[in-house]
Symmetry: C2
Subunit: 464 residues, 2 copies
Amino acid sequence: MANFKPSVPKGTRDFSPTEMVKRNYIFDTIKSVFKKYGYQEIQTPSMENLDTLTGKYGDEGDKLIFKILNSGEYLNEPKKKLFDFGAEENSARLVSLISEKALRYDLTVPFARYVVMHQNDISFPFKRFQVQPVWRADRPQKGRYREFYQCDADVVGSESLLNEAEFVLIYDEALRKLGLTNFTIKLNNRKILSGIAEIIGKPELIVDMTVAIDKLDKIGLDGVIKELLDRGFNDTDIDKLKPVILLEGSNEEKLRSLKQVLASSETGLKGIGEIEQIFGYVHQLSASGIGPSALNLQLDITLARGLNYYTGAIFEVKANNVSIGSIGGGGRYDDLTGMFGLKGLTGVGISFGADRIYDVLEELKLFPESTEETTKVLITNFDSEAEKFALPILAQLRAQNISAELYPASAKLKKQMSYADGKNIPYVILIGSEEIQSGLLTLKNMKSGDQEKLTINSIVEKLA
Amino acid sequence: MANFKPSVPKGTRDFSPTEMVKRNYIFDTIKSVFKKYGYQEIQTPSMENLDTLTGKYGDEGDKLIFKILNSGEYLNEPKKKLFDFGAEENSARLVSLISEKALRYDLTVPFARYVVMHQNDISFPFKRFQVQPVWRADRPQKGRYREFYQCDADVVGSESLLNEAEFVLIYDEALRKLGLTNFTIKLNNRKILSGIAEIIGKPELIVDMTVAIDKLDKIGLDGVIKELLDRGFNDTDIDKLKPVILLEGSNEEKLRSLKQVLASSETGLKGIGEIEQIFGYVHQLSASGIGPSALNLQLDITLARGLNYYTGAIFEVKANNVSIGSIGGGGRYDDLTGMFGLKGLTGVGISFGADRIYDVLEELKLFPESTEETTKVLITNFDSEAEKFALPILAQLRAQNISAELYPASAKLKKQMSYADGKNIPYVILIGSEEIQSGLLTLKNMKSGDQEKLTINSIVEKLA
């Protein structure tokens, strides 16, 4: 036992006090903005019935769902005797015999299940947010974990593009509150992509088209053209696509060009109309009159994420001055709850990539100093006389809502100082015989090293 | 598919927006008190390696651990071919072949694992709190769930009884902040129980003794005596035990009697000394000079919870005016981390029963009204002109940090009012053609039904 080295399962993490304060700062900031826009928090169980999850994430996704072993003596039923593990098809069969629950894979399917189960108690449009961990049996690698938090807001039961506009503002407000300024909120619309494929006369190749165009940043125009040719487009198509791919200028200029290109596509023009209306809402909602460009809102028709899923707006947020890419994304979907039998409920949602935002704030040193502090002040403890003197002082500090500690046993100064250092405690009150006699306590600022002699009332005032 | 009725696994729950606000109110209140006393939050992964958990909770506990199926094609290895499910011993063998991870069963073992893994980064004494769900494959019943939150604070690496005293204050402060006044914090000490068993000359029967005495409330003195006789005590023992069981009066009176009874037991007297010291600390720390009795702190020598585990202080908190019993408990333990190879680290910890506290607050109607509100104000939407007029108002409200919504589409008044009702929105701003012309908006108080005409600035002022 003494040689047993404890560890955590691969792809999972412990969060230390310092990390927790920073993580809570991110989550609390985002949640406060969600609430300000009328979103309400829900939580769903960590485990769902397996049949709630299976088939919702494609074959690859299904394999990555963590299944939970049934409890009890499920293996002793006679009908299950002698099982041939060698036969590949038995693997899936066995799982169905011994597991009927699984850990949630995302927050979207549980949300859909929630809406259907509680539809009679919900006031639609239903604006909910949810911040909970999800689990995926992915191969762990840098920045990819098997347990990680998702941070989602969705509204279902409203077609209004006001929702899309408000998500732009929610992204903007939350990220600015976190101290980020250099980010871009990218907006596209599935209908514009459909229009483009339609104009070229190859609507069936819309996915190939967007997959190729999406890589412009990485492989350049020549690379994109090569990939388009590989994927079934010809030179005539490329000529038509080029001006779209290379679309430049302000949002207004892009929209003007697109309107010409898509003049004959009803769907395409509808997509443009939606984008314009979202821009309009954003403009009117920007309190001080700042327009979309000041919000770093950018039409980007190469944006395609989750194309099979989204039917209208597509969002993505990028941090611009760091290597980390997308820190958020989302879009509009039709029929979220159809999989559970409730048809025709449209919705739109966004997600914040909390782990990546954490890395960005760390890289740019944007965490405020307060996220490193825990206890505000430590009172030293050198002997029982000093301890007795310290107790009412400790009580007085806490009565003023100041987070305070008395070192719980008499110990050497060095040990107590290193405790304060280890916990990032910014102030220490030193109580020796001199202090007890004079009633003037020594307050040490741990950052500057400065010491002053103060009455307890002055200390309370200073720290409150 | 249309007939598939979604459900959640038995013993698990969804939490609606209203429930979430109330749950967060409880957790946030308790966390704020933990922090004030210098406790820092950590989180551990939901899953632990199976060998971290197995053997820590007894045979019964091991059976209640939710195991996670390995991912991948673990079933196709030839050596595992042909497995006889009929043989009972194979059940455990199969589990070991197909599962190496499990969901955490409590927060204590993961905490011990955390301390050992991160011992070089921790400043001892380490004061941590942790609020996370745990999972148990218990038979679900009223008030008992398969997924529920635990809410723990522990300090390890400090023998000081100041820690025990502060836990008493933490219980008191947190519960009072939640509006509870009629509760009792019960305190006992394992050493007193050992001393009693020693005096009687049957130290080996300490568990039988405490199990019996613990039932005094339920089965009365005669019942306890009968059970003691059944469990191996004789009439002479009972004569010695009676005055201890029937100990009455103030804490001071109880301690005085106990000192006489335990005069010849070194261990027993040590336990009494510890209790006295804790009372002394509590007294000195009660800012306004309130002593232990005003804190509802009560010595209760029948208190025995977790006896096999605790070595010093034992805590339990009871809500007095409701049917629900214990809403918290804890104690001091030695050697928390010994199971992971780090010997000799003493600790003491407490736990809040959040689900039960929720039920108590609900039963006593102690949740503040603010826990029912979400969005502060809804702006109605009757047509596109009114919507356009409303947008800057919406922006102005939010700029003042007022949680506000515009109904996202034009709809009948009744529908919008019922939306506001469903979300417990306390105010509605009505905007019709009259309001647009005059600039005076109608603010409706949804609780009283009162309406007033106000400028937007007055409304902002009123709601801020």
